[in-house]
């Protein structure tokens, strides 16, 4: 069953696509910046062992990349709320959730230089289709 907002039928398909793109881009940017922040900080378990919990929290809260990442994640959240106000939940939830899995893998390869091998690509595609089935 799809849940339609009152204005759902009047949305231009390109505008709808732009809303979905905004969610996916903001979410992927937020995830990648947060991951980059945590990589630059280092292993939190080691930091906690040497400097205690306060040291670990300070290490995270003094990293500008972390705040940039959280800002984009917040932007993704509000983009989702905005899209839900104009599009059906049955479209927005599966499309954004499954697309984000793949865009994160692509962004992780090119921006974080992660070794996204065949195994991880296969997993990303399987999870993408799986999330679509679950949420749709």
């Amino acid at each position: 069953m799809t849940i339609l907002s009152p204005s759902a039928v009047s949305v231009n398909p390109w505008v709808g696509a732009a809303m979905l793109a905004a969610i996916v881009v903001a979410s992927t940017t937020g995830e990648v910046l947060t991951a980059a922040a945590m990589k630059s900080i280092g292993d939190l378990d080691d930091i906690r062992a040497h400097s205690g919990m306060k040291g670990a929290i300070r290490a995270v809260l003094t990293c500008p990349l972390f705040f940039a990442g959280v800002s984009f994640l917040a932007l993704a959240f509000f983009s989702l709320l905005f899209a839900l106000n104009h599009l059906s939940l049955g479209l927005v939830a599966p499309a954004s959730a499954s697309l984000t899995v793949v865009t994160n893998a692509i962004a992780a390869k090119f921006f974080l230089h992660e070794n996204v091998d065949k195994r991880r690509w296969t997993a990303a595609v399987l999870i993408c289709i799986g999330v679509y089935f679950l949420v749709h």
Binding site: M38, G42, D46, A108, L126, G130, V131
Partner: protein, 148 residues
């Protein structure tokens, strides 16, 4: 690629990532469903909602999720940690079926199966890509330098 084996504690952190997010969302959903309708004219009633048991519990679980997620990202790749968050969807389906006794459709079981296979693929591989100038090993000196 290095660090193929994770410690028991690190697997537990990934388990917390997978479990806390869906449980937190479920608690928030249950708490908000029990609240009277909130409109934009009375936004302060949202503050009162924060102190109800289900919503407070949901927020605590989501804080736990975010702390675990950040910890996991500090020693594992994003493409290794994200499947753990997807695994949470599977936990929700299993809870729906066996705890809440809800009907789970064939499509949803197919989704559960695909996610399980996908997570299995990633879990067999190494957790982290080792880069030439990886800062993980330099993390503690950096922290100590900040403390000075």
């Amino acid at each position: 690629m290095g660090q193929a084996k994770l410690s028991v504690g690190q697997w537990m952190i990934l388990g917390l990532v997978a479990v806390c997010a869906p449980l937190g969302d479920a608690c928030l959903s249950r708490g908000m469903a029990a609240m009277p309708q909130i409109d934009l004219a009375h936004p302060l009633s949202l503050i009162g909602a924060v102190f109800t048991p289900w919503i407070a519990g949901g927020i605590a679980l989501l804080i736990c999720f975010f702390a675990s997620y950040l910890t996991a990202l500090s020693w594992a790749d994003l493409t290794f940690v994200l499947p753990a968050t997807a695994f949470g969807n599977m936990i929700v389906e299993l809870l729906s079926k066996f705890w809440l006794k809800e009907e789970v459709s064939l499509e949803r079981w197919i989704g559960v199966l695909l996610i399980t296979v996908g997570v299995g693929f990633v879990a067999q591989g190494p957790a982290r890509t080792e880069l030439p100038n990886n800062s993980v090993t330099a993390a503690v000196p950096m922290e100590e330098e900040k403390a000075r």
